[in-house]
Subunit: 99 residues, 2 copies
Amino acid sequence: MTIEQFQQLIERVYYEKDSGRGLSATFMWFTEEVGELASALLRGDPEQAGEEFGDVLAWLCTLASIAGIDLEQVAVDKYAQGCPKCHHVPCQCPEPRSS
Amino acid sequence: MTIEQFQQLIERVYYEKDSGRGLSATFMWFTEEVGELASALLRGDPEQAGEEFGDVLAWLCTLASIAGIDLEQVAVDKYAQGCPKCHHVPCQCPEPRSS
Protein backbone atom coordinates (compact mmCIF):
# COMPACT_ATOMS: atom_id res chain seq x y z
CA MET A 1 0.00 0.00 0.00
CA THR A 2 1.37 3.43 -0.83
CA ILE A 3 1.85 6.03 1.86
CA GLU A 4 -0.78 8.12 0.09
CA GLN A 5 -3.27 5.24 0.05
CA PHE A 6 -2.73 4.63 3.76
CA GLN A 7 -3.22 8.32 4.54
CA GLN A 8 -6.43 8.25 2.48
CA LEU A 9 -7.60 5.13 4.31
CA ILE A 10 -7.02 6.80 7.67
CA GLU A 11 -8.88 9.88 6.39
CA ARG A 12 -11.89 7.75 5.53
CA VAL A 13 -11.89 6.20 8.98
CA TYR A 14 -10.92 9.15 11.20
CA TYR A 15 -10.75 12.50 9.40
CA GLU A 16 -14.19 13.73 10.42
CA LYS A 17 -13.64 12.89 14.08
CA ASP A 18 -10.00 13.96 14.26
CA SER A 19 -10.40 17.25 12.38
CA GLY A 20 -13.39 18.03 14.55
CA ARG A 21 -11.26 17.51 17.65
CA GLY A 22 -8.64 19.81 16.17
CA LEU A 23 -4.90 19.76 15.55
CA SER A 24 -3.70 20.35 19.12
CA ALA A 25 -5.87 17.73 20.79
CA THR A 26 -5.08 15.26 18.01
CA PHE A 27 -1.37 15.93 18.54
CA MET A 28 -1.84 14.91 22.19
CA TRP A 29 -3.37 11.60 21.07
CA PHE A 30 -0.45 11.11 18.67
CA THR A 31 2.09 11.63 21.45
CA GLU A 32 0.16 9.27 23.70
CA GLU A 33 0.67 6.60 21.03
CA VAL A 34 4.37 7.50 20.86
CA GLY A 35 4.48 6.76 24.59
CA GLU A 36 2.74 3.43 24.09
CA LEU A 37 5.31 2.58 21.40
CA ALA A 38 8.11 3.38 23.86
CA SER A 39 6.46 1.15 26.44
CA ALA A 40 6.10 -1.77 24.02
CA LEU A 41 9.72 -1.41 22.89
CA LEU A 42 10.95 -1.25 26.49
CA ARG A 43 9.03 -4.45 27.26
CA GLY A 44 10.54 -6.13 24.18
CA ASP A 45 7.09 -7.27 23.09
CA PRO A 46 7.24 -7.53 19.27
CA GLU A 47 3.51 -8.12 18.78
CA GLN A 48 2.55 -5.12 20.89
CA ALA A 49 5.31 -3.04 19.29
CA GLY A 50 3.88 -3.85 15.87
CA GLU A 51 0.45 -2.65 16.97
CA GLU A 52 1.91 0.56 18.33
CA PHE A 53 3.99 1.22 15.21
CA GLY A 54 0.77 0.94 13.20
CA ASP A 55 -1.00 3.30 15.58
CA VAL A 56 1.76 5.92 15.50
CA LEU A 57 1.75 5.84 11.70
CA ALA A 58 -2.05 6.17 11.65
CA TRP A 59 -1.98 9.18 13.99
CA LEU A 60 0.86 10.74 12.00
CA CYS A 61 -1.28 10.40 8.87
CA THR A 62 -4.32 11.96 10.49
CA LEU A 63 -2.21 14.87 11.78
CA ALA A 64 -0.82 15.39 8.28
CA SER A 65 -4.35 15.37 6.87
CA ILE A 66 -5.54 17.98 9.37
CA ALA A 67 -2.47 20.09 8.53
CA GLY A 68 -3.14 19.72 4.79
CA ILE A 69 0.07 17.77 4.18
CA ASP A 70 0.51 14.94 1.65
CA LEU A 71 2.73 12.66 3.73
CA GLU A 72 4.00 10.61 0.79
CA GLN A 73 4.93 13.68 -1.19
CA VAL A 74 6.90 15.36 1.60
CA ALA A 75 8.63 12.13 2.60
CA VAL A 76 9.62 11.18 -0.94
CA ASP A 77 10.63 14.75 -1.81
CA LYS A 78 12.98 14.82 1.17
CA TYR A 79 14.49 11.32 1.13
CA ALA A 80 14.25 9.85 -2.39
CA GLN A 81 17.75 11.07 -3.27
CA GLY A 82 19.33 9.74 -0.06
CA CYS A 83 20.29 11.69 3.03
CA PRO A 84 18.97 15.24 2.56
CA LYS A 85 22.04 16.63 4.36
CA CYS A 86 25.04 14.73 2.91
CA HIS A 87 23.28 13.39 -0.22
CA HIS A 88 24.88 9.96 0.23
CA VAL A 89 23.46 6.45 0.44
CA PRO A 90 24.26 5.34 3.06
CA CYS A 91 24.35 8.58 5.01
CA GLN A 92 27.86 9.78 5.75
CA CYS A 93 26.96 12.66 8.06
CA PRO A 94 29.06 12.79 11.23
CA GLU A 95 27.27 11.38 14.29
CA PRO A 96 25.20 12.74 15.95
CA ARG A 97 23.17 13.31 12.83
CA SER A 98 22.05 16.93 13.01
CA SER A 99 18.32 17.48 12.86
CA MET B 1 5.80 4.85 -3.05
CA THR B 2 4.67 2.03 -0.78
CA ILE B 3 5.27 2.19 2.95
CA GLU B 4 7.52 -0.85 2.54
CA GLN B 5 9.56 0.86 -0.20
CA PHE B 6 9.98 3.96 1.93
CA GLN B 7 11.11 1.88 4.92
CA GLN B 8 13.59 0.08 2.64
CA LEU B 9 14.85 3.43 1.30
CA ILE B 10 15.41 4.69 4.84
CA GLU B 11 17.19 1.43 5.67
CA ARG B 12 19.59 1.95 2.77
CA VAL B 13 20.35 5.48 3.92
CA TYR B 14 20.38 5.10 7.71
CA TYR B 15 20.12 1.50 8.96
CA GLU B 16 23.82 0.96 9.55
CA LYS B 17 24.20 4.19 11.49
CA ASP B 18 20.92 4.00 13.37
CA SER B 19 21.17 0.33 14.35
CA GLY B 20 24.74 0.96 15.51
CA ARG B 21 23.46 3.77 17.74
CA GLY B 22 20.84 1.42 19.13
CA LEU B 23 17.11 1.45 19.72
CA SER B 24 17.01 3.70 22.79
CA ALA B 25 19.22 6.46 21.43
CA THR B 26 17.42 6.33 18.09
CA PHE B 27 14.11 6.67 19.92
CA MET B 28 15.44 9.90 21.45
CA TRP B 29 16.19 11.25 17.97
CA PHE B 30 12.70 10.23 16.86
CA THR B 31 11.10 12.12 19.73
CA GLU B 32 13.27 15.14 19.00
CA GLU B 33 11.74 15.18 15.51
CA VAL B 34 8.27 14.87 17.05
CA GLY B 35 9.09 18.01 19.00
CA GLU B 36 10.22 19.78 15.85
CA LEU B 37 6.95 18.79 14.20
CA ALA B 38 5.04 20.30 17.13
CA SER B 39 7.06 23.47 16.79
CA ALA B 40 6.40 23.78 13.05
CA LEU B 41 2.67 23.15 13.56
CA LEU B 42 2.52 25.72 16.36
CA ARG B 43 4.18 28.26 14.08
CA GLY B 44 1.69 27.45 11.30
CA ASP B 45 4.54 27.06 8.83
CA PRO B 46 3.32 24.56 6.19
CA GLU B 47 6.68 24.19 4.42
CA GLN B 48 8.54 23.46 7.67
CA ALA B 49 5.70 21.23 8.84
CA GLY B 50 6.02 19.21 5.65
CA GLU B 51 9.74 18.74 6.26
CA GLU B 52 9.10 17.62 9.83
CA PHE B 53 6.33 15.21 8.84
CA GLY B 54 8.82 13.61 6.45
CA ASP B 55 11.44 13.44 9.18
CA VAL B 56 9.09 11.87 11.72
CA LEU B 57 8.05 9.24 9.19
CA ALA B 58 11.70 8.53 8.35
CA TRP B 59 12.62 8.10 12.02
CA LEU B 60 9.55 5.93 12.62
CA CYS B 61 10.71 3.71 9.73
CA THR B 62 14.23 3.40 11.06
CA LEU B 63 12.91 2.54 14.53
CA ALA B 64 10.69 -0.13 12.99
CA SER B 65 13.66 -1.54 11.10
CA ILE B 66 15.79 -1.73 14.24
CA ALA B 67 12.88 -3.43 16.03
CA GLY B 68 12.44 -5.90 13.15
CA ILE B 69 8.98 -4.60 12.27
CA ASP B 70 7.53 -4.35 8.74
CA LEU B 71 5.72 -1.03 9.10
CA GLU B 72 3.46 -1.51 6.08
CA GLN B 73 2.39 -4.96 7.22
CA VAL B 74 1.49 -3.93 10.76
CA ALA B 75 -0.29 -0.76 9.60
CA VAL B 76 -2.31 -2.49 6.90
CA ASP B 77 -3.08 -5.47 9.13
CA LYS B 78 -4.50 -3.13 11.78
CA TYR B 79 -6.37 -0.54 9.68
CA ALA B 80 -7.28 -2.04 6.29
CA GLN B 81 -10.72 -3.09 7.53
CA GLY B 82 -11.49 0.29 9.12
CA CYS B 83 -11.33 1.22 12.77
CA PRO B 84 -9.79 -1.75 14.61
CA LYS B 85 -12.06 -1.07 17.62
CA CYS B 86 -15.54 -0.42 16.17
CA HIS B 87 -14.89 -1.90 12.69
CA HIS B 88 -16.69 1.00 11.00
CA VAL B 89 -15.69 3.42 8.25
CA PRO B 90 -15.86 6.13 9.41
CA CYS B 91 -15.03 5.28 13.00
CA GLN B 92 -18.03 5.37 15.30
CA CYS B 93 -16.20 4.87 18.59
CA PRO B 94 -17.31 7.26 21.32
CA GLU B 95 -14.98 10.20 21.82
CA PRO B 96 -12.37 10.19 23.30
CA ARG B 97 -11.21 7.33 21.13
CA SER B 98 -9.65 4.81 23.47
CA SER B 99 -6.08 3.83 22.69
